[in-house]
Amino acid sequence: MMAQQSLEARIKMLEDIKAIEQLMWNYTYALDYGDLNGVLDNFLDNAAMEVGMRGAEKGKRAALEGRYEGKKAIAELYRSVLPEKDRFTVAHLILNPVVTVEGEKAKGMFYLLEPSGRERAMWGQGRYDIEYVKVSGKWKISSFKYSWNFNTPYEDGWAKTPMVGVG
């Protein structure tokens, strides 16, 4: 009896990790192809989001910096930067996933590498620290923190220009 339960628990852990990784990558396909509802479906109604920059200089504002409480505020943020469906504007490459699960809660760390080209070609890079809860069998984001390492014009590079505001 004990052995069977521990097998099921171990498989459930692997399934949960995979589900959360796939949530993140599905999020990127929705975002990069302009599917706002597809993006927002991943968040709890009372989710909180925070965007900042690593080692930020006082008084200098990073791109999209701020705190966004609740799905409505989060939706506003995404709507303001939503990529187009039929033209490349940004690719969110989500890498180096480290996901830990504890029952119906989980945490994930990921790197973002983001080539973008709204008005000009840029490189963005940063780190996500995200918390999830399982609701009716589906994982959802409860807390989304993103910290820029750099957001730099393509011709400058990240040593010369660590941060250019996107708005």
Binding site: M1, Q4, L7, E8, I11, L14, E15, K18, Q22, W25, N26, T28, Y29, E84, K85, D86, R87, F88, A91, H92, L93, I94, L95, L113, P115, G117, R118, E119, R120, A121, Y154, E155
Partner: protein, 171 residues
């Protein structure tokens, strides 16, 4: 616990493990494909496909001409029409196909996968390539193979220009 309920639990567990193994096997197939391709081993590249595999390459949002754009039916057409047209070097770097953001769903002996390509490349001239794969796979004698290879270009740009200036260079 009866013998019957024990067997039922094991069957359920086996199905779950098989799903996880299938997802890992397909990830491994895609990443193996990139090593075969980037190091010029075309026999092994073609081994990733079933004989009557189909390939379709398009450009996002436009009908412009672009590298390899078109439909290819069967292994021979795919090899001659796509892979042999821009050969990858064995002994020197020509491209590294970095495949990320894998989303794989398995349904018995069939599967689908979405992946991003983000690739530095170019022997004479440095380039960046980026696109999205929409793939279909089938399991043949215990091995996963590609049955449909869909690729949608986002950009193919010279390094010194960048993707805002040039979305699709002509080659």
């Amino acid at each position: 616990m009866t013998q019957q309920s024990l067997e039922k639990r094991i069957t359920a567990l086996e199905a779950k493990i098989r799903m996880l193994e299938d997802i890992e096997a397909i990830r491994s197939l895609m990443w193996s494909y990139t090593y075969f391709l980037d190091y010029g081993d075309y026999d092994k590249v073609m081994d990733c496909f079933i004989d009557d595999a189909r390939m379709e390459i398009r450009i996002r949002g436009s009908l412009e001409k672009g590298l390899h754009v078109g439909k290819y039916e069967g292994k021979k057409a795919i090899l001659e029409g796509v892979y042999k047209v821009t050969p990858q070097g064995k002994d020197r770097f020509t491209a590294s196909h970095l495949i990320e953001n894998p989303v794989i769903t398995v349904d018995g002996q069939k599967a689908k996968g979405i992946f991003y390509l983000f690739s530095p490349g170019g022997a004479e001239r440095a380039i960046w390539a980026h696109g999205r794969y929409d793939m279909e796979f089938v399991k043949v004698v215990g091995k996963w193979k590609i049955s449909f290879f869909g690729f949608l270009w986002n950009f193919l740009t010279p390094y010194d220009e960048g993707w805002a200036k040039t979305l699709m260079m002509q080659m």
